[in-house]
């Protein structure tokens, strides 16, 4: 059977029946100004061999820079089996399958993934994943507004230490549903959100408070105090976390002083890329969300449950689907009706191969490397650590001159030095967010520090050379 469904003659026949001269006539209600003309700059068709060669040449222009950029996407070593298993034909699909129950293996992988995310975050139920960390925060905000039993408030407190890109995305998505995100300032010396900054909102009607741990600056928030304050003021807590960090940090389900009546975050979300998904120019990644059973009906996304069939044999099924679009239509919790199947499969394999101990090793090594990096860079004249708060595997450095030219010069030397925060946080002055994971060696760090020293203090090097 031909895979070209319509021949030129077929198309002409169909057009004559409906009385249209050309296919384009079917779209004539589109205003002419909006129709794309010829695509400028796109060369004529090339052969596969020519395309392959062109792309290899272009890729080579990127070089293989040493990357010290984090800010939400992290370069970790991915053991070879992860993607060789994930790309097996049985798994290699981007989607939750249609006729999902006919794909028991896929459903079981998702079920295992959900179980792992619940274990990491200290929550009771997980969905099958969302698009990415930023949209997961947007969905978490909407979930919190729906889930709050005693308040109709659509306002949420969002510290400025939450990833600003996530805030932008959450504002775009949830803002259109009248959810208002109100910023809370951070302490300039510590680089984290203090309970004092929340005091002005004491007793006010807000649905939730967002807490990112570790925060955007890599600093550890005082999560216990923030969570206790939120619950004392009848607000839910949305935790934004790096799942890898949870192998060494307290899970959000246990945040808050022990012995308090209501303990732990209520909704946990974040970006899952660190778990076995390559940086690959920004995606595809996957977002995750976990929560408590009492809020499960407010959670968006697919959920896989374990059950038994009519003969009592174990099986897996999509469950609680009355929350979803294909059942509840416009009143569904969300318009998401899929998951990031492939990257979730990779993450599940990554977590199962490393185990709790392996994940903790990656986290601890990354923390140690970042300490080493900060020590090496702050030994350079004109560079200092900006915040005193204890951190995970990122830190903010302050510079005595603009950062952009330094980053450009470092790139010339094959080093991606970090993310320039100066524009987003002008009050910090020239500032750089840096990250070192387990993929960076002491030699890499020394090379970076030496380059910064040469670029910051060229006179000293000129004298040394003379």
């Amino acid at each position: 059977m031909s895979f070209i469904p319509h021949t030129t003659e077929d198309v002409a026949d169909m057009l004559s029946v409906i009385g249209a001269a050309r296919i384009d006539d079917l779209f004539d209600e589109i205003p002419p100004a909006l129709v794309a003309g010829s695509l400028e700059g796109v060369p004529p068709a090339l052969s596969e061999m020519a395309v392959g060669r062109l792309m290899s040449e272009r890729a080579a222009l990127d070089g293989r820079p040493l990357c010290f950029i984090g800010a939400g996407a992290y370069e970790h070593h991915i053991p070879a089996p992860v993607w060789s298993i994930a790309t097996r034909g049985e798994f290699y699909s981007a989607y939750t399958p249609y006729q999902a129950e006919a794909s028991q293996g896929t459903l079981q992988v998702i079920y295992e993934y959900q179980s792992m995310m619940c274990a990491l975050t200290g929550m009771e139920v997980s969905n099958a994943s969302l698009y990415d960390g930023a949209s997961a925060l947007a969905e978490a905000c909407l979930t919190a507004v729906r889930a709050h039993r005693t308040s109709n408030s659509r306002r949420i407190l969002v510290p400025r230490t939450v990833n600003p890109t996530y805030i932008d995305v959450a504002r775009t998505i949830a803002g259109n549903q009248n959810v208002v995100l109100e910023p809370v300032d951070f302490d300039r010396a510590q680089g984290r959100t203090l309970v004092d900054a929340l005091q002005p909102y004491e007793g006010s009607d807000y649905a939730a408070v967002v807490v990112q741990q570790p925060n955007y600056f890599g600093v550890l928030e005082e999560v216990d105090a923030l969570v206790d304050w939120a619950h004392a003021n009848d607000m839910l807590v949305i935790a934004v976390v790096n799942p890898l960090s949870l192998s060494v940090l307290k899970p959000p389900g246990e945040w808050g002083a022990s012995g308090t009546a209501k303990r732990g975050a209520d909704i946990v979300c974040g970006e899952g890329q660190a778990l076995g998904v390559p940086l690959s120019s920004g995606g595809p990644y996957f977002g995750f969300m976990t929560t408590r059973m009492q809020y499960v009906r407010q959670m968006p996304g697919r959920i896989v449950g374990r059950t038994v069939d009519a003969e009592g044999r174990e099986g897996f099924t999509l469950t609680l689907q009355a929350r979803e679009q294909h059942i509840r239509r416009s009143k569904a919790n969300s318009n998401i009706c899929t998951n990031q199947g492939l990257t979730v499969t990779a993450a599940t394999i990554y977590m199962s191969l490393l185990g709790a101990e392996g994940l903790a090793q990656v986290a601890e090594t990354s923390m140690a490397r970042t300490r080493e990096l900060v020590a090496a860079l702050t030994a350079v004249r004109g560079v200092r650590a900006l915040f005193s708060g204890e951190g995970f595997h990122e830190a903010v450095l302050g510079f005595d001159r603009p950062v952009a030219p330094l980053l450009a010069a470092l790139a010339q030397r094959g080093i991606q030095g970090g993310l320039d925060l100066t524009e987003r946080f002008p009050e910090l002055g020239p500032s750089l967010l840096v990250c070192a994971t387990e993929t960076k060696t002491s030699e890499d760090i020394a090379r970076y520090a030496r380059a910064v020293d040469e670029l910051q203090n060229p006179a000293a090097f000129a004298r040394g050379a003379a």
Binding site: R149, T150, N152, R297, A322, R323, I327, R328, K331
Partner: protein
């Protein structure tokens, strides 16, 4: 079609029933016709006591194996009670829609009677019209 429509209740076109209690509050549930159309109920979400609801506002959700439906408050007021037994036994809605399957009670603003409610005859006629 069900003809189980007690005369002492009032009805809405969205298939809720309203019972006026001796203390002036109203009790709200779903009709026998509604529970039959929904099928086996598996989950009922009732509002928190103290919540203020507007007339026509979605104030509860009932979920069956095949659908989830909003329950609209026929009156404006404050929720004074919600049926906690339904959390563990949603099937009460199927078994006794006018009795143990009640959903919530509301203290109506200004004790105003609910406007535009149907009596049993009016609701029966509405159902017949819908069925034809």
């Amino acid at each position: 079609m069900s003809d189980n429509l007690p005369d002492d209740l009032q009805y809405t076109k969205s298939h809720e029933w309203v019972r006026t209690l001796p203390n002036g509050e109203v009790e709200i549930g779903i009709t026998d016709h509604a529970q039959e159309a929904l099928g086996d109920l598996v989950f009922v979400d009732v509002p928190e006591v103290g919540r203020r609801v507007a007339a026509g506002e979605a104030c509860a959700v009932v979920e069956s194996v095949k659908a989830a439906s909003d329950i609209y408050s026929p009156v404006a007021g404050v929720v004074t009670a919600s049926n906690a037994a339904l959390a563990g036994a949603p099937e009460l809605l199927n078994q006794a829609p006018y009795g143990e399957g009640w959903l919530l009670r509301i203290a109506v603003d200004g004790n105003r009677p609910a406007a535009a409610l149907l009596d049993a005859g009016g609701y029966a006629a509405y159902l017949a019209e819908q069925a034809s």
